[in-house]
Symmetry: C4
Amino acid sequence: MQTDPRQTISEMCQNFYRQGWVSGTGGGISIRREDRVYMAPSGVEKEKIRPEDCFVVDLQGNILERPENPALKLTECAPLFLSAFELRNAGAVLHSHSSNIVLMTMLARRLDEELSVLEFTQLEMLKGIQGHGYYDTFELPVVDNTAHECDLTESLRRAMERFPDSPAVAVRNHGIYVWGPNEVKAKTQAECIDFVCEVYWKMRSAGIQSHLSAPATPASVS
Amino acid sequence: MQTDPRQTISEMCQNFYRQGWVSGTGGGISIRREDRVYMAPSGVEKEKIRPEDCFVVDLQGNILERPENPALKLTECAPLFLSAFELRNAGAVLHSHSSNIVLMTMLARRLDEELSVLEFTQLEMLKGIQGHGYYDTFELPVVDNTAHECDLTESLRRAMERFPDSPAVAVRNHGIYVWGPNEVKAKTQAECIDFVCEVYWKMRSAGIQSHLSAPATPASVS
Amino acid sequence: MQTDPRQTISEMCQNFYRQGWVSGTGGGISIRREDRVYMAPSGVEKEKIRPEDCFVVDLQGNILERPENPALKLTECAPLFLSAFELRNAGAVLHSHSSNIVLMTMLARRLDEELSVLEFTQLEMLKGIQGHGYYDTFELPVVDNTAHECDLTESLRRAMERFPDSPAVAVRNHGIYVWGPNEVKAKTQAECIDFVCEVYWKMRSAGIQSHLSAPATPASVS
Amino acid sequence: MQTDPRQTISEMCQNFYRQGWVSGTGGGISIRREDRVYMAPSGVEKEKIRPEDCFVVDLQGNILERPENPALKLTECAPLFLSAFELRNAGAVLHSHSSNIVLMTMLARRLDEELSVLEFTQLEMLKGIQGHGYYDTFELPVVDNTAHECDLTESLRRAMERFPDSPAVAVRNHGIYVWGPNEVKAKTQAECIDFVCEVYWKMRSAGIQSHLSAPATPASVS
């Protein structure tokens, strides 16, 4: 017995707001139930979304149900969300504007004119990212940002194809899209990715070059 | 059907307190309905303001309604708030003492004896600031602080005239005034400005000089 | 009509816990009503204090009323709180273990074998500290910590006498005692002091030497 | 009259989530009542655990009661929790994935191929760690992480035997296990350890080499 996705979207956006992921109307989440996709509206305070403010679209993005309030528009992330549903058979996709993500994208290693990558390894929290163990290297693709959100769609799709093991694609100076088989998995994976970004950033800020085990160098802090 | 502005002021101040913008009785918000302006009282814990503690003034600052509690005084930000209503036809103006803002004002580039500027570009969150896209440069004017808050009025007005594209004026070592066509827009723009200040400060603290796209320099963090 | 001080202590400790000032059973607050002083118990989770857990003592520290729970003991801060009531005619005294304070005490300038000082100026939030304007220098005395909290009493009293303009005395590597004519003023002054410590620490961490106005040196962050 | 441990586990996990200790399904807590041990399930959002989701095991780890929901599995921390109950006669053991802990483990001084140590002294919050006073040195053992959580058991037990004065063992790049005679003491000690890690990390990041008293070197921050 699943909960009403509109109610879930409302509650999850409140959690994301408290986490600092959706301030200033950025970010959001979409949840799929079979061939119906529930999405938050665009340009509103995410922490104040009520269930009745949500849209329902089909897998091609056609609006099936819209909220009563005529001022509300569909989220601009729609094509990006739908790409994850299509290419990954996701059950939910979220979009976070967390500063931890934004800062780490600045350190991404460039691969070509539209794509970079961040690599993380040997942090326990990586285990919360599907398919990754402690000693694995989690490769997070980072696409360059564009003037308009919908223009990200093609580069996001290419990044997803090039990095099939990642449940996320980050966007330089912007944020991240994270999906999963359901909304809980999307959220928990997003929390793990946010955590490793926070930790790597703090390591970098403190001048720590490596945290890999068996460094053999005695170091002490008194 | 609009909500009671007094109730909104009370709720928004609680949000601002949780965000760290109005601790120690600093900061606040004013909301305009036609020719009546609702303002919080001065020198009280902002997170404890009740609707009945609010003042109502006219557009010249004359008190139309005052709270029952005789100990309450009108906010000292009144002339500053009224300047934004007058010069920008704002619907709401807020004042934040966020440490993210205070710290960034210390890095502002000086233009003359009373005015400096901060420049931000290529962060997605800038899109939440009216009139700014991802590749635009958001210029945030920063006026020097004064011994008394009302003495800021003239320099704040000059900054507003010199920087018509900014929905905000920051005050060095003090905080920021942010306005918008309504209280939601004032708050969300303030969140976006606070976010870009937090990110720029963390970049500066970590020694990152530039985050602009296509750096072509492969950099990796292991 | 004043609220029940026991209720206030309970609520304020919950606020302090959320602010990070009283984790791990550290910190607390005492409130005076004429010649009765209400204090929190020792060694309990401060965010879970119920009104009936509070002690009432006289101005010499003799217990007038104790909570029903026989396991509860009077706070070890009692002599320190009572010193502020005596020497400053305070209405309330709080004790915070905030990490912002602890970190800044490490930078205090030593004056003699038991006393150091921190100096803050030109931050708007200093106005929230009684008797201080924007251009004033707030001198915060810092006494060295001791093995037992009650052993701080003498040095704390000497610091209070030497720095009559400060509503607080910090303790190196430990925290701070802040008082005021009532509990609201004690809390709001504590918030202002905590804020300026947070800002000075972040300036120091980022290598900023001075934030004083009219630096005349054009600096820009892109 | 003790509260229902299942209810306590549910409430404490919500507190831990707010503290940032159990995001992304990591971390947890177990509580012992005589020979029955209550534990949270594995791989679920810790902040959403309901009392009826808890397991009850005996001191050897055999399941005595399991939740109705057949999808729930016993926490993978079970052998680690049980080791603390056995070797320390603990009343409760918690597991935190706090980033403050993870970062500090990177600075631990290596003792042998599986064990390192962190040393803390002269912070008031150390008094909240059983058996430690202000001038004592708290030695926190840090074992290397392994691919699977249960593989930590042997090294954790050896660390506990080698460092009998520590109520905790940290795991490099992973987190920490903290116990106490009851759940309150486990939590408050965990808060104190988290605090000293946060402070030491910030000192290290700011380049402060020592915070020990009587430095005799006048230093000032303006």
